[in-house]
Symmetry: C2
Subunit: 237 residues, 2 copies
């Protein structure tokens, strides 16, 4: 593990700007450095497991991480995908609970770990930080509600279309007349974002392709007609 350790200063971190740490001053950033450790992770490595005790927060500098819960039959349900600038594990710290989900690296990543105590100290010394976190939590809660309603009321087809739109917004790389969804997701992963069986995802993707809404480049997906895809997702009604 020690060879995977690298040095990264928060002050110079390109991901800090739009992160929760955006409001910290020099002194506070220095405090963070003290006990921080930055580590490189390969795809498929797991940061933490559901049900274990959180020791600190993870700060994604590079790469992508899936956050998921396991059902009793061992099926994954992805609840979130973290990208550079995102934090992992602060929910469990702040609610003083065990992790409610597991986190596994999707694409090779650089992730910093900040011990619980340092993170909590930051809270008491910076009220702007408090506000940032509360706002973030409230927004996330709104998104979760949306998701619950979608799960209950939309068909798998609509949810898949919606997930593709969402992935496009976040990971899309615009090209000629199309947008590549640039994230290393297996069909299994996609199925567990949508909440369905892998085979169903594959069948629906080939439907969308047949209708000219998307194209498939290897396992990656290109969105050709975002507006029509959004219509499939029932974004209008």
């Amino acid at each position: 593990m020690s060879d995977k350790r690298i040095n990264l200063s928060c002050a110079a971190c390109g991901s800090r700007g739009d992160s929760l740490f955006g409001c910290l001053n020099h002194e506070q950033l220095d405090d963070l450095e003290e006990n921080k450790s930055c580590i490189m992770y390969k795809r498929a490595q797991t940061l933490f497991y559901e049900g274990t005790r959180p020791m600190g927060i993870y700060c994604v500098n590079a790469g992508k991480v899936k956050v998921f819960k396991l059902s009793s039959q061992g099926k994954e349900q992805i609840v979130r995908i973290a990208k550079p600038g995102d934090f992992l594990g602060y929910r469990a710290i702040l609610s003083e609970e065990f992790y409610s989900a597991s986190a596994t690296v999707l694409e090779d990543a650089v992730i910093c770990f900040i011990p619980k105590e340092d993170f909590l100290k930051m809270l008491t010394t910076n009220s702007q930080f408090y506000q940032n976190i509360i706002k973030k939590l409230c927004k996330e809660l709104g998104v979760m509600r949306e998701k619950i309603a979608d799960m209950a009321q939309k068909s798998v087809r609509e949810r898949l279309a919606g997930s593709l739109i969402m992935l496009k917004e976040t990971y899309g790389i615009d090209g000629n007349e199309s947008t590549l969804i640039d994230i290393n997701l297996s069909r299994d992963d996609l199925a567990s974002i949508v909440g369905t069986a892998t085979e169903t995802v594959i069948r629906l993707l080939s439907d969308f392709k047949k209708d000219g809404l998307i194209s498939l480049e290897g396992k990656k997906i290109k969105v050709l007609k975002p507006r029509e895809l959004a219509k499939e997702a029932d974004f209008y009604g």
Copy 2:
């Protein structure tokens, strides 16, 4: 509306103890009184509508309120049921968004309204209050994740069993060898908690009844065998 106005002091409020306001001192409670208004609501009255701008927070003193989102086809999805001591609308205030859901009274209620400004002032003057809110938000987020995973991975039968257990925990009145779920929920409401069709709820309830897990007293439900019901909900795996 003016005849429905009543006087209630926060200091003497029986619901305050376990609420977010539990940590406020006398002075702060007095501040709250100033612009507070307490109103009686009848069943089916709506407190606020999804998509509108929040003007303050609602504090439930008595009664029950359902919080729900509407699909494009006008179908309800209940995301939460608020009971005495619960707050409504603070999520939208804190995230500075419009309401993400609507709130309608299920059982005749007494609800106090506190203007946004007073609520926010409370935040800046009491850091314990901050902590309470953050903790509450984080716990709620954990519950929401659980719900999303359930929606994706469990059958309607399992979800209904789970919802009955949950309702029993919160609204149960213990009797001889059984627990009455004491809340005025229509079959429609129950269906929109579970996320299914009304007819399906009715059929599954009669299944559970046939199996001796529950009994039906009018539209109210008595739980006879909570452990077996929990097994139906796949709480063990």
